[in-house]
């Protein structure tokens, strides 16, 4: 039985879009007789490095799911790469899922290149990277709970699942489907800015404060 390990690169652990997206794939795979497991990278890196190595060495496919931080990977994911660079890996398959706060998914391209570069230098088998925009919009909800907005996204993810089952690389068509805009930029900007103002009012804060200058 093939083993799949989801490495959640979000420091938010349970409540993250990274986890939600990765678990969609895991749920589908476990129905097809894959054995699945999840680790929350930040807490594990600080406390339980050996367990990470153990789980990785037992796996046939690694799925690294991460939030985009300052155009690249969060610091602890870079630390994970640094730690792994000193270890021998078998020739596992690996894929990455990046999600970001801006509505456009292209912001994630560079981060996926870093993941691919890591995979290739460590002699892992890179099967592809997915880029998803407007991550905070999910706010803990699964892509199945968003109605018509996520039609294409789900279609793309199902194609990814199929490729994994067939032991193939992720198709370009699937990458394009998942990276399509879920809502238009103008609407995202409007809704986002409005909600920031609303929360600021609720929290009774000066959102434009300049404590350092």
């Amino acid at each position: 039985m093939e083993q799949v390990l989801l490495i959640n690169g979000s420091p938010k652990n349970k409540n993250s879009t990274s986890l939600m997206l990765g678990q969609y794939i895991l749920r589908k795979l476990s129905k097809k007789n894959f054995k699945t497991d999840t680790i929350h990278l930040l807490s594990m890196l600080n406390n339980n490095l050996d367990e990470i190595f153990e789980k990785i060495s037992e796996s046939d496919l690694l799925i690294l799911s991460f939030p985009l931080y300052v155009d690249s990977l969060p610091s602890h994911v870079m630390k994970f790469f640094e730690v792994m660079s000193k270890n021998n890996l078998k020739h596992q398959k690996i894929m990455a899922i990046g999600n970001c706060g801006f509505p456009e998914s292209f912001h994630i391209k560079t981060a996926l290149k870093i993941c691919k570069n890591f995979a290739e230098k460590k002699n892992l088998h890179w099967i592809g990277g997915l880029a998803i925009g407007a991550g905070p919009m999910f706010n803990g909800r699964s892509i199945e709970e968003m109605g018509f907005l996520t039609r294409k996204l789900i279609q793309g993810f199902n194609m990814v699942v199929l490729s994994i089952i067939r032991n193939e690389e992720i198709k370009d068509d699937a990458k394009i489907l998942v990276s399509r805009k879920v809502i238009p930029t103008w609407a995202y900007k409007l809704i986002g800015n409005k909600s920031f103002k609303k929360v600021a009012k609720m929290n009774n804060i000066k959102i434009y404060d300049t404590p350092y200058q």
Partner: protein, 188 residues
């Protein structure tokens, strides 16, 4: 003029120490008041993605540690130099620790810049940032990704970022390459 020199390599990285010393000297010759920070020596916790720095305590991170102090120093510097080993085309984890902690100097609000969404500024003035990515040998792939990353950072930080990778080599050559990067400071 104040310059902050951030170094994310470790104390035993002698190549980076040389690059650091060369950079420091160039800055001093240009009459900068230089503060050097070895990130390794600082206690900085990882960003935990809570957005408190935008929506609860605007402009300040929830972690009360040296990350706050560095963020404050950054926003009050004229120039920030980041010396980082290039890790698979990205910043080293220690430099990234600092970068992930500086988002409170932006506002949460979205703004369209050249057709892309970015964040509005919180402060009037932002430092010029020069990134020096150090590599111990030629690696075109990593170098290209790193330069692309700096370009993306520049777009998100109001064109304040510039930089390049340098491969560790003879002192004179390093000096020349860093001087080349410093030309950026002369552009108004």
């Amino acid at each position: 003029m104040k310059a902050l020199l951030l170094n994310s390599s470790s104390h035993d990285d002698l190549n980076m120490e040389l690059i650091h010393d060369i950079t420091k000297k160039i800055l001093e010759e240009k009459n900068f008041q230089v503060e050097s920070v070895m990130i390794e020596d600082k206690e900085i916790k990882e960003c935990r993605g809570c957005f408190n720095c935008w929506l609860k305590t605007p402009g300040e991170c929830i972690h009360d540690d040296e990350g706050r102090i560095i963020t404050k120093t950054i926003i009050n510097s004229d120039v920030v130099i980041m010396l980082t080993p290039v890790i698979y085309g990205g910043y080293s984890s220690k430099m990234k620790l600092v970068l992930d902690r500086i988002i409170p100097v932006l506002l949460p609000f979205f703004k369209k810049i050249k057709g892309e969404i970015h964040h509005k500024k919180r402060y009037k003035k932002y430092p010029k940032v020069i990134v020096v990515g150090m590599m111990n040998g030629e690696d075109q792939e990593s170098s290209e990704i790193f330069c692309e990353l700096i370009k993306r950072n520049a777009l998100n930080w109001y064109n304040s970022f510039t930089g390049d990778t340098i491969v560790y080599q003879k002192e004179a050559k390093i000096k020349k390459e860093i001087n080349e990067l410093f030309k950026y400071l002369e552009v108004k």
